[in-house]
Symmetry: C2
Subunit: 344 residues, 2 copies
């Protein structure tokens, strides 16, 4: 589902797209500061061809904001406990806003103590995780993050959804190269991908999920309509989903994926959950060679025949978009402009 | 490979087994302090029926110690950088000794700052990881650890071994119940399990690994003789193996799995690598309900039909062994006694 659009599609610049998305959010109960952060994030996903978290998500943002389920004007409450431990109450706003507001504190904490743990609760996350970790890798740090979500994944051997798609991501700097950035759902497939399959009426691969009765299905509509996804990698992948659920749903003091309840908020789509972030200075204590060590590891992976390093495709897509603009189908662009109130 | 031995087998107490194993290690170039730690660890694996890390490992310990590859008398060098950041140079000794020597410092660091990161380099790890995290969960903390090893796992899509079996483990306390303890290799199968299959001449499941030419095989001997294991869960599992390799092999300042070189040390088996440990006080900042939240999550997993919570089987095995002793085949017991110098 990552094929680029028609070569005849209009091309827009990153700035143009970002401003358009920002206008949509401001029109829909979001403060200018938070709209700026979310628009940058969403436009970045579209630019990098991470389409399941690109403009495809805008109606979900808008419907959730209009429903009152998420507060686009929330100002996060940031508190430091101990020299390396930061807790943030996002006050029912977006996790990205919470992270942005704490950014300077997080960076100072890592610089001064070698590690920062940031536990965000009462927050909504409706995007990819790589935008949350990549900046720290660009600053020379290793960043790890995990988010739980809306219960739509069955534990291995189970019948009912307990976990969200519970993504986990990490990023590290590499000498003389782009950072290594991994961002993956612990479900067999990301929920956004299932929704793209449903929109295209394309079946999902066997083993992806179950229907509302717990029977295996390749129908994306059945998975979305009361069914659930499987975790990746059998019981071991299920343990990683559990790991994320604990970090994001419990260590944060947030809520579990199965505790989301949209009743009373028609149109709500953004999962209210928690996010845990750990940022490590890998050279803390006088080491100097982390980035060159990572370059050696990457070279070994390439030698071993790994065809593509994690994150490489996104960086290539980004470079292409920076050169030629971001292709967006005319109909999509018109829909976005309508949402922004620019035309009918 | 976790079937208990013959009901007719002799039963030994945990203390009896531990003292026997300690004598073996002391007879083989290990200090009394380190022998005590490793014997407790290995006897604990046997007691919990985690047989791939039980007494089956003793010849490997002995051969490695005799070869001079690992230093059983090493005294670790512990240094604190920043309030929450601890680095340990194990000085070519065992990681378990490094952890034991730093135990009080780690606990004080978590208690006072809410988090401790412990980066161990220049260390050997030849056992399971659960013994390294379970004690912290029993003290009310969440502990996460990762170890790299000896290159015998191919990255997804690759042809050559880069990763070790790179296990990752975590443990959390649960109100009114045993801790939840996950400990799993990021390979499809743990190397110890492959060795047990080879000893029993039992084929491994399809998809477990490749032979020395990179072709898929179900012959455990072919995997051990220059072949390699696959990572679990396709490219997503491969990313988790990468995560472990970076944490244990690079953040620690240790060496990568593919940098092990046994040349000049005939008999050496213990992988010289690194270990990263993160211990978190999940109630840091005035929270009080982490353990009861975990109890809720566990109840939900049971409701969803998950047949067994991670770690539960080991705790059940332990209770049975505490009651009736640890069954060990007579031949095995005699071999251990010979190694300890008690018989012929």
């Amino acid at each position: 589902m990552t094929d680029k659009a028609d070569p005849q599609d209009p091309r827009v610049s990153f700035q143009e797209l970002k401003l358009l998305l920002k206008a949509i959010l401001i029109n829909n109960r979001t403060s200018s500061e938070t709209a700026d952060i979310l628009a940058e994030n969403c436009a970045g996903c579209e630019r990098d061809n991470a389409l399941s978290h690109g403009i495809f998500r805008m109606p979900g943002y808008v419907d959730s904001l209009r429903s009152g389920w998420v507060d686009g004007r929330a100002v996060p409450d940031i508190a430091q406990f101990g020299p390396s431990f930061i807790r943030i109450d996002a006050r029912n706003g977006f996790a990205q806003r919470a992270l942005a507001s704490a950014d300077q504190l997080i960076r100072r904490t890592v610089r001064e103590t070698g590690i920062a743990i940031v536990a965000i609760r009462n927050s909504h996350h409706f995007s990819a995780l790589w935008p949350d970790v990549e900046p720290f890798a660009l600053a020379g740090y290793m960043a790890i993050t995990a988010v739980n979500g809306l219960a739509n994944v069955v534990p291995h051997g189970g019948r009912l959804a307990v976990y969200g798609t519970n993504p986990i991501a990490f990023a590290v700097p590499v000498h003389d190269a782009q950072p290594l950035v991994v961002d993956q759902a612990t479900s067999v497939m990301a929920n956004g991908e299932v929704r793209l399959h449903a929109l295209a009426n394309k079946p999902v691969p066997s083993g992806t999920g179950v229907d509302r009765d717990g029977n295996p299905t390749i129908d994306p509509h059945a998975i979305l309509a009361g069914g659930a996804l499987n975790t990746f990698g059998g019981y071991k992948g299920s343990s990683i989903a559990l790991f994320v659920e604990i970090l994001a749903g419990a260590v944060t003091g947030g809520q579990f994926s199965f505790e989301n309840d949209f009743t009373g908020f028609p149109g709500a789509q953004t999962p209210k959950a928690g996010q845990l972030l750990i940022v490590i200075d890998p050279n803390c204590g006088g080491l100097t060679n982390f980035e060159s060590r990572l370059a050696l590891l990457c070279a070994q992976l390439v030698d071993a025949g790994q065809d593509r390093l994690p994150g490489a495709r996104r960086f290539a897509n980004r470079a292409a978009a920076d050169q030629s603009g971001i292709p967006i189908a005319l109909g999509e662009l018109q829909r976005l402009r309508t949402l922004a109130g620019e035309g009918s």
